[in-house]
Every structure is written in C-alpha cells, then in structure tokens.
C-alpha cells in the first residue's frame, strides 16, 4: 500500500476548524491507516484505488466531508482558453498515442507543496500509471514554455538538457546513464524514434514517459504550472489528469484548459458522471433502513452529490473518482459517509448446518493415532529447497517443480515428499534430548495435468536403539487400530535409506509408501549422532481412499 507523509498543522489549515485529535480519529474512517506518528508528522497508508489521497490536499477534501465542514462534490472550474494549444503528430500513434493536459495559474508553491506534488506524481506513476506504462505526468513551469506545443517523435540522437542536469545530453545517453532512463527506457521498445514534446521554438519541453527538460523545472518561485500527461489510453490519461487538476485547484490554483488536437486527441472535458442506485439495494446491503435524505447526506459527506428520483438515488460523481464503477461502490460511499462506527454488528441466525470436511476429520484421527504412539507433530513449509528435499537425502531431482524469482533461497521448490524435511528438522535438534519422534501430515506436489496435490504422512524416530522393527510396528499399528488397514512390507532399495533396511509399504497389493532406516551417510552429513528410522505414506491411497 502506498504511503503519504503529512503534517497535522498543515492539514488543520487545509481542513479548517478541527483539532489534531479530530483528524487522527477520523483518518481511519476514510480508509486511511496511520502507520506512524512523530509529533506533527504522520505517515499514512492509503488504498491504491484512491490516488486523490496521495496528497494532503486530497485527504483534506475527504476529512472536510466526513467532519461535515464542507460536503458535496468538488467542482472543477476550468476557464476555457485558446492560448495553450498542443498538436499531435502521427508518429506517436504507434508508441504512446495520447496526450492531455491542463494549465494551473496563480498558485503559491512552497517547499512542502512541491514535496506533496512530487509524491503525488510518483504515486500516480506507480499505481494507476502502472510504472509509467499506461500514463505518465510532466509538471512544468508554464512561463518557461512558448505555445503552441507539438507532441511528436524524434530520433535517439536528439539532444536536450534534462531535469537535474546542466548540459545537453543525447536521448540515447539519457536512456543509458540516468536512473529514470534505466528504469523506464524499456517502455519505448526498440524503435529508433521516441515521443517528445517541443514548444514553439523547437525547445524540448518533455521526453515522455522518461524525463522533463531542465528549463521548465518547478521551483518555489514558480507561479503558473503546465501539466501534460501522455499515455497509451485516452481515458486513463484523462483519469490521471482529473486527479492532478482537482489537487491543484484545491491547492489554490485557477485552472485553464489546454486545447488538444490531432490523431484522435482532443481537449479533456473532465466531466462529472451520474450513476443511479436504488435505496433498497443500499439498505439491503448495509442492513440499515435509511430514508432518501439520510442516504443523500451520507453521500455528500463522501464528497459526492445526490438527489432522489422515485425510489432511486441519482448520484453525481466527479471525474477524479474513477474508482466508482457502479452501484455497489455507491453503497460503500453511503457506508463511509454514514460512518462505519455507526454500523452496529448483528448476528442473524444461521439457516445452514455446519460441517467439517471429512478429509479434515480423517486427518485429525490420524494425528491422534500418531500422538498416541508418542510422535510429536511438526510443520514444515511446502515450499522448500533443493538442498533439503533432494541433495541432502540423495534423491533424484530431475522432476523439480520450482517457483520463479523467490526472494528466499530456502523456499524455491515445491515438496514432493515430507520425510526429507523431518530429517532436516532432526539436524536442528541434536542438542535436545532423545528419543526424538516427529510426524507431519501435509500436501505434496507432483507434475500431472499440470500439478497434482496429494496428502502424505511421514514419521521419524531417532534414538540410540532406533531400528526397522520399531518403526514398522508403529505404522502397522497406527493404520490397523486407527483405520482398519492391514499393511505388509516388501524389500526394496532407495538411496535415502540404508540398504537391507528398506521396504515398500504395501496395501491392497499396491505400494503406498516407503519405510526403513535412514542411510547412515545422510545422518552423518546432518551431524546427527543416533540412528534414525522413518516412513512416508500416501493417504489418498490408504486412509483417504474414499474421500478423493
């Protein structure tokens, strides 16, 4: 979840007439988790579906609503203007076809505002921009740009002075030598041409989605902003623009439109949309009985507008709330505006009779039987390592099922057997007193259409007198007393076990497992100083035969 850092005093100024405590008490009820607090600073986690909460301006809008200070939608006041045209050329159609933008004038930008805008930009890039792939933003000092602009392509030899640099660098070098170039260069593919925004004098304004030109850098002296957003989908780019425009207006800027034309591009409208929802659905889902007026006032507290029309509520949704898809989203907005803390939990009697899965019941019986025989239950991960599962126990590793890019070396492959993990467990307990007897029941994985999951049970016994007879009597009794299953053992060889001390476990003329004395070399390699015997059986072929 993305995190944003805020100052309480700044928030108080933005929200108006609230105490610090009112703010910290209300944040969770907007869906914002307080991650940490340090005097005036607070770090909060917000949900990725609410990019408007990536700045204190957006959060202030939410708090105003919830606290009843200002309710209803935030209307964007965009002055129509012809002074800021952008023409789109055909070259970009196949790489990043859309551009959109807005002009924001007469704002005051202090360091804290710049920091908030930068975090917003980063969060938008990462979240709804999908790491700049879908859409990306450039924020510029308007007064350094001469309109009209052209959104076109250029070749990789084109030179300009990028942000945070003092000299002209060719694009090919920007892509190799700067962090942003390395991180996002791959979005441009292999084409010799890349997207670019030039101004009237052929000066580079932006090289989307990588970097702005240095000349348009926003500082605390900047008064007027120009925001451009490029992307692969027009609606997505305009969604992002709606967030930026709303935040800038809230931050005190006045908005003017940017006139966009060419190659299916057009001036963004950033219009509100209307969705209607029935009062009965709202009341049914929430388990409440609210009248239309209460529903409408709740929606307004969620910074939406609404009016009733028959039994329906018609809701007006500002463009930046593109997380609202349909009626259920509005139910949630009612709940938030009503206040989750005001919803009293109820317990309606169950119309159904609960039932434990028969497999769980059988497994529980097996657990009890094993415990009766003195085995302690162990639990290991299904995701294990080649070392534990194959190498240390001499098993054939030609049919490994591995996962991609695991962050942990101990968890890279899925187990097809439980016993190797238990042997490894013994090696971690050599300082504990003996006898040590452990068992584990769990899922094992094998290749089959594409993956088959079965449940196995394995047990081991380690002490100075451990021997084949002991372990065979135990599994034999466990299956007979617990499940009425009569097994036999037939000589076999297996590299995990000592030769001459290893057998297949046979039930109904079919091998359901293996049993024996663990190979002394394995025991030695694990530095275990007592003999170890063990078994592993497949439960779907024995006690769970009728369950699968």
């Amino acid at each position: 979840m993305p995190v944003v850092e805020l100052s309480y005093t700044r928030l108080q100024k933005l929200v108006g007439k609230v105490s610090k405590k009112q703010i910290s008490d209300s944040l969770p009820f907007l869906g914002l988790d307080i991650e940490s607090e340090d005097k005036d600073l607070v770090r909060i986690e917000y949900s990725p579906n609410r990019p408007d909460y990536s700045t204190d301006f957006g959060i202030a809008l939410g708090l105003q609503g919830l606290l009843g200070i200002k309710t209803g939608t935030v209307k964007l006041n965009i002055k129509k203007s012809n002074k800021f045209p952008i023409f789109v050329k055909s070259g970009v159609s196949k790489m990043r076809p859309f551009v959109t933008g807005i002009v924001a004038k007469n704002g005051k930008i202090d360091d804290k505002t710049i920091k908030q805008l930068m975090t917003m930009q980063e969060d938008l890039h990462f979240g709804i921009g999908r790491k700049r792939k879908k859409s990306s933003i450039g924020i510029h000092d308007l007064d350094k740009i001469s309109f009209p602009l052209v959104y076109t392509t250029t070749n990789r030899n084109h030179k300009f002075t990028p942000l945070n640099s003092e000299q002209e660098i060719p694009i090919s070098e920007i892509l190799v030598n700067t962090d942003v170039g390395k991180d996002y260069g791959s979005l441009l593919g292999q084409s010799p041409h890349v997207p670019i925004i030039f101004d009237k004098n052929q000066n580079t304004v932006s090289f989307p989605p990588i970097i702005n030109a240095a000349i348009t850098t926003v500082t605390t002296k900047t008064k007027n902003l120009f925001v451009e957003i490029t992307g692969i989908n027009k609606d997505d780019a305009e969604d992002m623009l709606a967030v930026v425009a709303t935040i800038l207006q809230t931050a005190g800027f006045t908005l003017e439109s940017v006139k966009i034309s060419g190659m299916k591009n057009s001036t963004p409208k950033l219009e509100q949309k209307k969705i209607s929802v029935s009062s009965s659905l709202i009341n049914q889902i929430l388990g409440l009985n609210l009248n239309a007026a209460k529903i409408i006032s709740s929606l307004k507290k969620s910074r939406l507008d609404a009016s009733s029309k028959g039994t329906n509520i018609v809701c007006t949704i500002p463009a930046y709330r593109f997380d609202i898809f349909g009626s259920m989203d509005l139910v949630e907005e009612v709940a938030l505006g009503y206040g989750i803390q005001n919803l009293e939990p109820t317990l309606s009697p169950s119309q159904t009779i609960g039932k434990t899965n028969p497999v769980s019941l059988q497994l529980k019986s097996l657990d009890q039987t094993m415990i009766g025989l003195g085995f302690l239950e162990a639990l290991n991960s299904s995701l294990t390592s080649k070392r534990v599962l194959y190498d240390m126990v001499n098993r054939d590793s030609s049919k490994i099922i591995s996962v991609l890019d695991s962050k942990s070396q101990e968890h890279t492959i899925l187990r097809d057997s439980i016993l190797p993990g238990l042997i490894e467990n013994l090696s971690r307990n050599i300082h504990e007193s003996y006898p040590q007897k452990m068992f584990e029941t769990g899922t094992v994985f094998t290749f089959e259409d594409p993956i088959s999951e079965k449940i196995n049970c394995s047990g081991i016994s380690a002490h100075k007198d451990a021997n084949f007879t002991e372990i065979k009597s135990m599994i034999q009794s466990a299956l007979k007393i617990g499940f009425g299953i009569q097994i036999e053992t037939k000589t076999t060889t297996n590299p995990t076990f000592e030769e001459g001390h290893c057998a297949s476990i046979i039930f109904n003329n079919m091998s359901i497992g293996i049993i024996g004395k663990i190979n002394s070399k394995i025991i030695e390699n694990y530095k275990i100083r007592v003999p170890v015997v063990g078994f592993e059986i497949s439960l779907f072929e024995s006690i769970l035969k009728n369950q699968n």
Partner: protein, 464 residues
Amino acid sequence: MLLSQVFHKIEKKIITSLRDNPKQTPESLEKSTRLLPDQIRRGIEWLRLKELAIVTESQSSVISLGKNGLESLQKGLPERRLLELLKTGPKKLSDLQKELGFIFGPSMGLARKNNWVEASSDQISIKNPPSELPGEKTLKLVGNKKIFKDKLDATDLSGLLKRPDFIIEDVIKSKEISLSDSAKSIELSDTIGEIDVEAKVPEVFVARTHPLKDTIDEIREIFVTLGFSEIFGNMAQSSFWNFDALFTPQDHPARELQDTFYLDKINAKKIGTPEQIRKVSESHKKNWRYQWDINEAKKMVLRTHTTCVTIKHLAEHKPDEARVFSLGRVFRNEKVSYKHLVEFNQIEGVVIGKDASLRNLMGIQREFYKRIGITKIKFWPTFFPYTEPSLQTMVYNEKLGKWIELFGMGIFRPEVTKPLGITKPVLAWGGGIERIAMLKYDLDDVREFYNNNLGWLRSATKCQ
C-alpha cells in the same frame, strides 16, 4: 525446611558417620560406612541437593623428593658431604675436588658463603657449622613419603625448592564433607521401602499436536458451530481463479513476480468454462480498459489467498443460501522475517443469501472474536480489489497495548459475481491464522511455528 524427610539407606549411613566424625573426606566415609565409592558419591550429591550436606572443595600441595633429593637423603646434602670430609682435619683443595667431583663447586660456594669453612692458601678447614644444616630437617621429614606442604617448615623447604630435581610439588584436590545445621538434628526414620515423594524427578516430553494446528482446529470448530461447512481446494491455482475471477486486472502490481509465486513453465490446461472465461474477460476489458490475455490467466500460481477456492466453489454450485469456508496454506513472495513468511495459513469464509448484509458480516466477525477471547474490536473501512464495501477488523491487544489488524472482509463486487452467474450478495471474510496463534502463544517471531524446534514444541503449553 521440609517437615519430614525420607532417606535412602546410603544417605542415612553417611549422616550417621558424619554425626560421629563431623569433617570427613569421601575416602574416610568409605571406610566408616563400608559403602562403595560410587554410592558415597551419589549419597553426598543427594544430601547436598537437599541442603543437608556441605561439600567444601580444597586444593593442597603435596611434597615428595625428586631424584637429587632422594640421593641426598641417602648420601647427605652435598655441603654435608664436604663438611664430613673436613671433619678429620684440613684438606687440600685439589684433594677435595677429586673426592667430591661435580658437587664440589656448589657445596664449597655454599659452605664459604655461610662461613662453615675457612680457606688459607690451598688448605680448607672446617670453621663453625651448625649441627643441622638448612634443608636437612625437611629432607628427613619427607623421606620417601608424600607430605602436605603446609606441614613443613617453609623457610627450611625454600632452599631445597631452588635446587634442581630436589623437590616434587603436586597439587591434589580434596573434598571435605560436613553436615549442615539442619542435618545435625534431623530425624532418621527407620521405615523400610519409603521413597522421597517430594524429590525432583526427570522431565518427560508429551507427544502432542503442533500448537499452530491446535489454533487451526479451534478456528475450524468455531466456524462449523456457526453453521459453516468446510471446503477444500488446491494450492496451485491458475491465475484465472486466483486473480482474474476476482477482478484483479492483469497488469495489477499484486500479480507481479515479486509478490506472487508463479510456477516455472507450468500453465493450466483448462481454466474454466468458455462462458466463465468470456464473461470474466469482458468485465475486465470494460472496466479496466485493456486487452485481456488468456495466456496470462493460464499461468499457474501458488494461491495468494484462499478466496480462489471459495469463488470457484460458488461459481460451480451457485447456491442461493450457503455458509462455507476454506482453510489452508497461502503463499506470498516475501522476504522471510520475524513477521513475514512465504507460506502461511488463511481462513476464508463466505455467506450467500438474500438477507446477507454488511452488519451481518460484522456480527459474524464479532461472534468469532468473542469465541477466541477477543472482545475489544472495531471496524475500519479498507480496500480489496474484489469486495465493495470492504472493512478490516481491528482488535485490541492488551499485551501489546495497541490495536492490530486481523481479518479483512467485504461483499463481493458485482464485477466478480455477475460474470460467474452468482446473483445473490456474497459476504466474504478472511485472514491469516498465524497472527492469531502468535497472540495466543505470545510469540514475537512467526518463524517459530515452522522451525520445529523441539525446545519450543516440547514446552509450549497446550491449552492457552
């Protein structure tokens, strides 16, 4: 002090002997009690543990004679031998040299230094020797025996210690056993066959189910009694059921390799019915505006939640009224730490029915928490891609003194249910079990559950 004591016969014999002779060594106790050395050793140890015997260990030096010391014992000290030769009158230096050989030098030096002899031209004559020379007393006292150093005259010994191979000094450890004050008056019962029923006994280890399993079983039991039935599903799932069917777009960050375990080169053969696939993909295209790719949906993953099991069950059975839950392992590609595992247990439950509401969902949660002993709870709004509205439970932990997040819940979005033909509202909730078990067993490192550390497994209290 215990009111009564029962003693083993060994203990009784030792106590009796020590009452006669209050300070003894183990060897002297052997003689007086006629017990074997091992019986004496054990008896002393028992009495010591009961704080009835006091054992003082000490070190002492023992002196015996070395090679040169023994020679001097036989023939006299070199200087004594010189004085003996002079007894009969003065002698020439050269004659003495011949007579005494290599001991002449040192003995002559010593005799002159002490004014025992006098030299005039080459004649040596006796002057004024003491009747007993320094060292002779010690030599005689030690003789062929070993003798404690503190029994010897230290000054007399010191000269001998400086001479090579005269004296051998050994350090020996010795024990002195005596009775404590309480043992002096304790009553020694004569009843035969009694044992010390108050004594400490060895620890034995109880075979038991795993503590985490106990928590899982407890949670299963609670939901069964709340009317839920348990369903099972695979851990390896197609991305279709783990993500697509749950309205998680294919370019969503949660689907990336760095969060989710994808199986290497393994794709599902069949992911759903053609209708399910068509409708799910349409919902994605319409709402998320991108080109939905069936190959992405076929990629096999280790389930990141058990929700895939419940949604598949609902899509297959389309019940009008049901309460089901699934319980099992889920996987996240995380760095393992004290608070994160790559694999952990999750419970996931759903209620489907005409009167299913958010307040009902909250009521079920409250009831569940009450049954595991948590009464201080509250609900906060949150976000999940597949539920709307979505809430999370915060529970107050007295030990930590803070609110912690437990189960998440919500109502499945119509974008999830509609394409799968589910028409009634579905309440869903779920969360990790390890977190609850950690609170229960007071653990602050979640890895302990999978370490199989016998020290912990053998000691964790079964009923918490």
